[in-house]
Every structure is written in structure tokens, then in C-alpha cells.
Symmetry: C3
Subunit: 138 residues, 3 copies
């Protein structure tokens, strides 16, 4: 069993879900042809990870709208120094995932046919985000 | 260190929490007598995983009721093609877990005494769900 | 590759976020100088784990206030035997994390510069909580 680490940069252009499935699949396939265990870590507290349907784009639009309704910007937050969208961003990150660990079979993460891996950007301004990928493989 | 993979099918009969602790414990015990690391992956975006109290069934009823209040069915969703319960199902999956990784000690996941592992079915119709189990063990 | 397990006790004094980053970093550094994979498991269903900003304490205050507004105590819960704060505690645990898995590089978890690891205590009374740490390392 051996392990490999990789840092993956993702550029974001405001709030939204960025599909990172393809670069993650490619990196795993280049490291591992058999069974393994992939871990994805998001190094931020105002962006997070989400596994969601990769078919109908309306699902992603509805998800974004739901999280905006549930965690609106507003005057009720003490933390305002970094902009009105910052505290809602921290809360949305708390309600979703900072990390995913996915079994690997035949050199590929065992995602369901409708599952995509998304970086969930919660800030309005463009950001450079960093994911750390860790793979165990025979 | 060696790894083992297993696909576990779970049949669901509408929205609810299905206790999958026993089949998971049994599979782990058959593979590993010492220390290890168990990962459970749910291959769906309208069903998810949850660790919850396994004692008072009222806790599960209250959880279901809370998620129904927080994510009601309604006309505000664009995504309506797959039924009124489908978009709320995706949102409930986003708010809970697609994956759990649990240390294993003496051949058993280190669950607390009140912790059970549940498949959280968010769709109204019966479904056949699939979990992938991955185990690392000495 | 070898694995190590450790049980970490954390004493809590009512609802709040307890920073457990330092003891976890120290334990990892004592076990591993290179690459690895750290898993943290919380053995409870009324306390959970959260990765959040470790800079402005207002972020934690706002997070606590948000979760109290989203999951208020009240008469709508069937499960009342263990106190008015118990069912909201189970729901808050369901909405956050029971487990975190973090890649380790150069003997340290790859946390972002603003990321801290918190035990999220949801009960009002003092508790002794237990985390299980599992580390894989070359």
C-alpha cells in the first residue's frame, strides 16, 4: 500500500458549484489501476465540498437558491468586517462538507452514475481555492 | 495492511431512516479482528447517511419531521420533472452525509454506545440503494 | 504503512465550540513525520465536529446563534425525556459532522491557515466527550 498527495487549485468566479469530478478522476486514474481510498480536503472555511446530481443544471440552481434563503445576508451577524457575504459563507460551509473520502475500484472513485463532486464557492468575489487530494492504493 | 471492498444493497420503502449498523458490523467483523479504517459511501444524491441515536424511536421521528419542515415540497423549485419530492431529496442529501469513515478497533467500528448508522431515504417511492464499504485492516 | 489509534477526552461546559486543533496536531506530530491520513470520530449524537475559522471569535458566536435560530427548543418535539435541549442537539449533530478525515503532510494535518478543528457541544450541561483518532502513516 502506498500513498500519494496532490494539491489541486480551483479558480472560482463568485457563488456557485464548480464541477471538479474530471480533474479528480484523471489524477486518480494516473496513480492507481486497482482498489484504493481517495480523500479530498478543502482548505477553506468560506468554500466547501458537495456531492450532487450531475444531470439537470436546475438542481444546482435550486440548491444555490435554497442555501441563500436559509442563510441570508443580514445585519444579525456580528462578523461583518470581511463583507456581508462572509458570515453566510462560513455558515454554508458548516452545513456542507470540508472533506470527502471515496473508495476507489478499478482505478476510479465509486461515484454513482448521477454523482458529481463540486467545489461550493460561497463568496461573491473571485477566489483561488485549494483542494488537497490524498490517495491510498495497492 | 490490506483493503477489501463490498457492495451492500439496501431496499427502502419511502422516506425514513433505515438502520444499517448490523450488516456493516457483521461484514467488518468477518474481515478484520484488529485495528482498521472503514469507509461507507452512498452512491446516490436523493438518499444519504446519518449517524444518530439508536435508542428512542421518537428521535428518528423528530429528525424526519424537522427535515420536512426545513425543506418542504413546493413550487419554488425549478427542478420538478422527477416529482415534487425529488428536489427536497437532493437538498436533504446536501445537508447530511454521503460518506462516513470510522476507525475500527478489535474488529468493530468505534461507534459510541448510542450511535447507529442509518441510510436516510429522502424519496417517497421504494428504491434499491447501494452502499460501497471499503475496509483497511492489518 | 502502519496505523495508530488514540482516545482523546474533551470536557465541555455547555453549548459552544471547543478548539481541539492543538492536542490533535500534537498527537499526529508525535506519531508521524511524513505523509499520512488522520481520521477523527466523535462518539456522540448530541455533540459533533466542525471545521471553522480560527481568527475572529465573532464567527463562532454567529455560528452558535444561527444554529439556535434554525433549531430552536420547543414543544414540537416528541422526544422530551432528556431535556428541552436534547432533541435540538441531535438535529444540530445531524446537520454538522460526526467525522473528519484529513490528509497529513510533513507530519501535520493539511489544514488551511484559517482552519481550526472544533468539538461542537450542543448540550447545556457539562459533559465529558470522547474523540477517537486514527492515523495511517508510512
Amino acid at each position: 500500500m502506498r500513498q500519494t498527495l496532490h494539491h489541486l487549485a480551483v479558480t472560482t468566479q463568485g457563488q456557485g458549484l464548480i464541477d471538479v469530478t474530471a480533474p479528480i478522476r484523471q489524477w486518480v486514474a494516473a496513480q492507481c489501476v486497482g482498489a484504493g481510498l481517495l480523500t479530498i480536503w478543502c482548505r477553506h472555511t468560506s468554500a466547501s465540498l458537495l456531492v450532487q446530481e450531475n444531470a439537470d443544471p436546475d438542481v444546482r440552481a435550486d440548491l444555490l437558491a435554497f442555501f441563500r434563503r436559509m442563510v441570508p445576508e443580514g445585519a444579525e451577524y456580528r462578523h461583518q468586517d470581511e463583507g456581508a457575504d462572509d458570515m453566510p459563507a462560513h455558515i454554508k460551509a458548516a452545513l456542507t462538507q470540508t472533506q470527502l473520502t471515496i473508495p476507489v475500484e478499478h482505478g476510479a472513485p465509486v461515484l454513482g452514475v448521477w454523482q458529481g463532486i463540486y467545489l461550493f464557492e460561497h463568496r461573491a468575489a473571485p477566489h483561488r481555492r485549494e483542494l488537497v487530494l490524498h490517495l491510498l492504493c495497492d
